[in-house]
Amino acid sequence: MLEPNWAAAAVVWQLTELQGLLPVFEPASPEARALSELLFWVSILCAAILLLVGVLIVDAVIRYRGREGDLDPPAKTASYKVEIAWTAAPVVLLAIIFGFTLRTMGLVNPDPPRNATPEVVIRGHQWWWEATYPASGVVTANEIHIPVGRMVLARIESADVVHDFWAANLARKIDMIPGRENFVWLQADTAGTYLGRCAEYCGTQHAHMHFLVIAQEDSTFAAWQASQLERPAAPSGTLATQGLAIFSEKACLSCHSFGGTGGNAAPDLTHLASRRTIAAATLTNTPANLARWLRNPGAIKPGATMPNFQLHDGEIAALVAYLSGLR
C-alpha cells in the first residue's frame, strides 16, 4: 500500500533456537519460577470455573428443552440465600488468589534498598538496548551480562519512547518510560544465554528489538568486564586499516560511540566483534551479516535510524574487516 518495495527487503530472523517453546513456563530464576507456578495454579482454577459454567449450561440445555406450544413454566423469585452464596464464594476464591499474588509480588519485585546503586543500567532506544555498568564503566549494547546465582539490580530507562524490558525466563516485564527510572531484579540460576525482547509497542521496528541476557559465573563475568574495559588492538592488515579510515571518513562516531567518545544514538562499537548478534539480536554477528547490514540497514530493519551510506563493495569489505577485529 504505502511501501511498494518492502517485499524485496525481507529478512529471515536468526537465533530463534535461543528460545524454548514456552518461555513463561520455562523459568531460569527463582523470580520467574514463582511467576510460573502462580500462573499454573491460576490457570487450573480458571479452567475449573469454565468447566463448571459449561456443565451448568449444558445441563440446562438438556434438561429444560421446551417445545413450541408448551405452557410457560412457573416464574421463580430469586432466593436471597442463593444470591448471597454466589456472591460470597467468588469473593473468598479471589481473596485467596490475591493472597498468593501478594506473596509472589514480594518474591519477584521487592523494593530495592534506599539509595541502592544499580549494577547495570539498561536504556531502551528505538530499536536497540544500551547497557552500562556504573561500577566498572563498561558500556555495551543488546547484550546484558550478569553474574549467576544472585539478584542483580538493574535500573531501567528510555532514551526516546516507551519500551518494555522483558526476559521471560528470568524476570518480570518492566516498562522503560522516558523521564522515569524504573528498576527490575535480574537473576539466573545457571550460566547461559537467554533471549529477551521489547514488549511495549515502540514504533516501526518494535518487532525487531530483541536482546540477550548472558549469565556468567563470577570469574567469567569479571573477565568479561576486564576485557570490555581494554581498548581493542589497532587494526592489523591493510584492509582493516582501510576500514578504519572509512569509519572516520563516514563519521560513524556522530551516532555510535567508541572507547568512551562519540554519539549515543546508536550502539557502542568498541567491542562489536565480541558480541553474538547485530541489529538488536536480529542477525548473528558474522562478517557476511555485517556486510548485509552495512549495504542497506533498511533492508534488514525497514525504518531503522541508520542511513544507507551507499557504500560500494570495497568499502564494505574494508569496514567488515575493521569491525570484525574489534574484540
Binding site: 500500500m1 511501501e3 518492502w6 527487503a9 525481507a10 530472523w13 530463534t16 514456552l22 518461555p23 513463561v24 514463582a34 511467576l35 502462580l38 500462573l39 491460576v42 470455573i49 469454565l50 459454567v53 449450561i57 440446562a60 440445555v61 429444560y64 428443552r65 421446551g66 417445545r67 405452557l71 410457560d72 413454566p73 412457573p74 421463580k76 430469586a78 444470591e83 454466589w86 456472591t87 467468588p90 488468589i97 490475591f98 499474588t101 501478594l102 509480588m105 519485585n109 523494593d111 528505538q126 531501567i156 518480570r172 516485564k173 518492566i174 516498562d175 518510560i177 522516558p178 523521564g179 522515569r180 514488549a199 511495549e200 514504533g203 516501526t204 521496528q205 518494535h206 525497514p302 525504518g303
Partner: protein, 546 residues
C-alpha cells in the same frame, strides 16, 4: 434520502448508527484479516511495518470508537424509547447531532490514510511515540501526521458520544410511561442507563487528553513530552481513566441484550432482577477505579499497584453474579432454541473465557509476565467478540423482526452461529498459548520460534472462518429483508413494550401506551385481560392462553 439525512426520529437515527457501525465493522474486519495474513507464517512479507502498524492502529480505533460504541448506542437509541413507552428521545435534535458527528469523525480519521498515512501510534497512542518527533507526517498536506487526524477525529466522535449519553440519561429519567418505576424498568434500560453514565464520566477524560496531545503536537506545549518536562505517564493515566470504563461501556449493553433475550426464550422472568440491575451498577462504579491495571508494568509503587489489583479482582464478583443469574433463568425454564438464545448461550461461555483470563491479569504478578503479549489479544477478543459482538448477534436475531417487520432465516442463523463459534475459538484460543510462548503484541512479523508458526497458522485459518461467518450474517440480513417471513407485532411472544406496537413501529411508536402493571407489561396485560374476561386464572404464571 433527504428524509434519512434530516430525520430526528430515534428509530431512523438508531438504524443510521447501526448501519454506520456495520460499514466500519466490515472495514475493521478486513484490516484484521490483512494483519492475520501477514502473521500467518514467520518472516512474511505481505505487509511492511508501516502498513501493518497503521492497520493495527486503525483496527483498534475503528472497532472501539466507530463500531462498538455507535452500534450499542444506536441499539439503545432505537430501543430505549420503545421499551419505556416514550414517543421519542428527550432531545431529538441533539440525537441527530450526536449521530452525525460519528460518521464525520470517522471519515476524518480514515482520510488520514490518503492524506499522510494513518496513525502508527496504536489506538492507545502513547506519547512520546505519538508526539511529532516520532510520528510526523510528510504527505501532500505538509507535516500534518496521522496522529493529528486521529486526535481531532476522535474528539469529534467523543463529543457525539457524550451528547448521546446525556440524551439517554434524560430519556430514561423523564420519559418513562406511567407505572414504569425504576423497579419495573426493563433490565436493558437499567444497564443502558449505567452505560450512559459511564460514557458521561469517562469520555471527557479522553477528550481532554486528545486536546492536550494535539496541543503538544501542533502548538509546542509539553503535557506529555518528557523533553519539555511533561509526563508520558500522565497520558497513560488519562487514557485509561477513559479506557477501562470504556470496556464496560462496550460490555454492559451486551449484558443488557442478554438479560432481555434469555428470559424470553426460557419463557420465564429473569432470575434475580434486582441482582442483575444492582451488579450492573456496581460494575459501573468499580469500573471507574481500576484503570491503572493497564499500567502494572509501568513501575508504579507497590501500594498503588496493589490497590488497583484488588479493585480489578473485585469486578469479577458482580460479573459472576450476572452469569449465575442468567444460568438461574435457564434452569427450570422451557428453552426455545431459536438463534437469539443460541447466540446468548454462546455469549455466556465465550464471555466467561474472557472474564477468567481477565482474572489472570488482575493477578498483578501474572500481568507482569503476560501483559503486552498475545495473551492480552486473546483476552480482549473473547470479551469484545465472544462477549459484545455475540450479544449483538443475539440482539440482531431478536430485534431484526421489530426493526424491519421480517424474520431472519433460522437456517442461515445456525450457519452463522457455528462458523462464528468455531472461527472465534480457532482464532483466539491459540493466542493464549502464543502469549505464554512469548509472542508480544503489535509486531508486524516474527521469527520462526518454536511453535509460533503453527499457532499463528491456526489463528489465521480461524480468522478466515470468522470472516465467513460475517458474510453469512450479512447475506442473511440481505435476503431476509426481502424474503423473510413476516414477523407481526410480537413474533417471540415477548413481554416488553417494544413488542406492543407494529413491526416496524409507526413514527410515533404507540397509538396508546399500554398500562405498565409490572416488569413484564405485555404478560401482565394478557393475564389481566384473561382473568377479567374469562375468570379462569389458574395461578400466577400459568394462565392458559387460548
Amino acid at each position: 434520502m433527504l428524509d434519512w439525512a434530516s430525520t430526528v426520529d430515534h428509530k431512523k437515527i438508531g438504524i443510521l448508527y447501526m448501519l454506520t457501525a456495520l460499514v466500519f465493522f466490515v472495514i475493521g474486519g478486513l484490516e484484521a484479516l490483512a494483519m492475520r495474513i501477514q502473521l500467518s507464517r514467520p518472516n512474511n512479507t505481505f505487509l511492511g511495518p508501516e502498513t501493518y502498524n497503521q492497520l493495527f492502529t486503525m483496527h483498534g480505533t475503528t472497532m472501539i470508537f466507530l463500531v462498538g460504541m455507535p452500534l450499542l448506542i444506536g441499539l439503545a437509541i432505537y430501543l430505549v424509547p420503545l421499551m419505556i413507552g416514550a414517543r421519542d428521545m428527550a432531545f431529538p435534535r441533539l440525537n441527530a447531532f450526536g449521530y452525525w458527528l460519528i460518521p464525520f469523525g470517522g471519515l476524518l480519521i480514515y482520510f488520514s490514510f490518503f492524506a499522510t498515512g494513518a496513525s502508527t501510534a496504536g489506538w492507545f497512542s502513547y506519547p512520546p511515540l505519538s508526539l511529532r518527533n516520532y510520528t510526523l507526517g510528510n504527505g501532500p498536506f505538509g507535516n500534518v501526521g496521522g496522529v493529528d487526524y486521529w486526535s481531532i477525529g476522535l474528539l469529534i466522535v467523543g463529543v457525539g458520544s457524550v451528547a448521546s449519553a446525556i440524551n439517554l440519561i434524560a430519556t430514561i429519567l423523564l420519559l418513562r410511561a406511567p407505572g414504569m418505576g425504576f423497579g419495573r424498568m426493563p433490565l436493558f434500560c437499567w444497564l443502558i442507563f449505567v452505560t450512559a453514565a459511564l460514557i458521561l464520566i469517562a469520555i471527557p477524560a479522553l477528550n481532554a487528553a486528545l486536546v492536550m496531545l494535539f496541543f503538544d503536537r501542533r502548538f509546542g506545549t509539553a503535557f506529555f513530552d518528557p523533553t519539555g518536562g511533561g509526563s508520558p505517564l500522565l497520558w497513560q493515566n488519562f487514557f485509561w481513566i477513559f479506557g477501562h470504563p470504556e470496556v464496560y461501556i462496550l460490555i454492559l449493553p451486551a449484558f443488557a441484550i442478554i438479560s432481555e433475550v434469555i428470559p424470553v426464550f426460557a419463557r420465564k422472568p429473569i432470575y434475580g432482577y434486582e441482582f442483575v440491575a444492582g451488579s450492573g451498577v456496581s460494575i459501573g462504579l468499580f469500573g471507574l477505579f481500576v484503570w491503572a491495571h493497564h499500567m502494572f508494568a509501568a513501575g508504579l509503587s507497590q501500594g498503588v499497584t496493589i490497590w488497583f489489583g484488588a479493585a480489578s479482582m473485585l469486578i469479577a464478583v458482580p460479573t459472576g453474579v450476572k452469569i449465575f443469574n442468567w444460568i438461574g433463568t435457564l434452569w427450570g425454564g422451557s428453552l426455545r432454541f431459536r438463534t437469539p438464545l443460541l447466540f446468548a448461550l454462546a455469549f455466556i461461555l465465550q464471555f466467561t473465557v474472557g472474564g477468567l483470563s481477565g482474572i489472570v491479569f488482575a493477578t498483578i504478578a501474572l500481568d507482569w509476565q503476560l501483559t503486552d503479549t498475545y495473551f492480552v489479544v486473546a483476552h480482549l477478543h473473547y470479551v469484545l467478540f465472544g462477549g459484545t459482538v455475540f450479544a449483538v448477534f443475539a440482539g440482531t436475531y431478536y430485534w431484526f423482526p421489530k426493526f424491519t417487520g421480517r424474520m431472519l432465516s433460522e437456517r442461515l442463523g445456525r450457519w452463522h452461529l457455528w462458523l462464528a463459534v468455531i472461527g472465534l475459538n480457532a482464532t483466539f484460543f491459540v493466542q493464549h498459548m502464543l502469549g505464554v510462548m512469548g509472542m508480544p503484541r503489535r509486531v508486524y512479523t516474527y521469527g520462526d520460534f518454536p511453535g509460533w508458526a503453527l499457532a499463528n497458522g491456526i489463528s489465521t485459518v480461524g480468522a478466515v472462518i470468522l470472516g465467513s461467518s460475517i458474510v453469512v450474517f450479512l447475506w442473511n440480513m440481505y435476503v431476509s429483508l426481502r424474503h423473510g417471513d413476516i414477523a407481526g407485532d410480537n413474533p417471540w411472544d415477548a413481554w416488553t413494550l417494544e413488542w406492543a406496537t407494529t413491526s416496524p413501529p409507526q413514527p410515533e411508536n404507540f397509538d396508546t401506551v399500554p398500562p405498565v402493571l409490572g416488569r413484564r407489561p405485555l404478560y401482565e396485560l394478557t393475564a389481566q385481560r384473561e382473568s377479567a374476561n374469562r375468570r379462569q386464572s389458574v395461578g400466577r404464571g400459568q394462565e392458559i392462553v387460548l
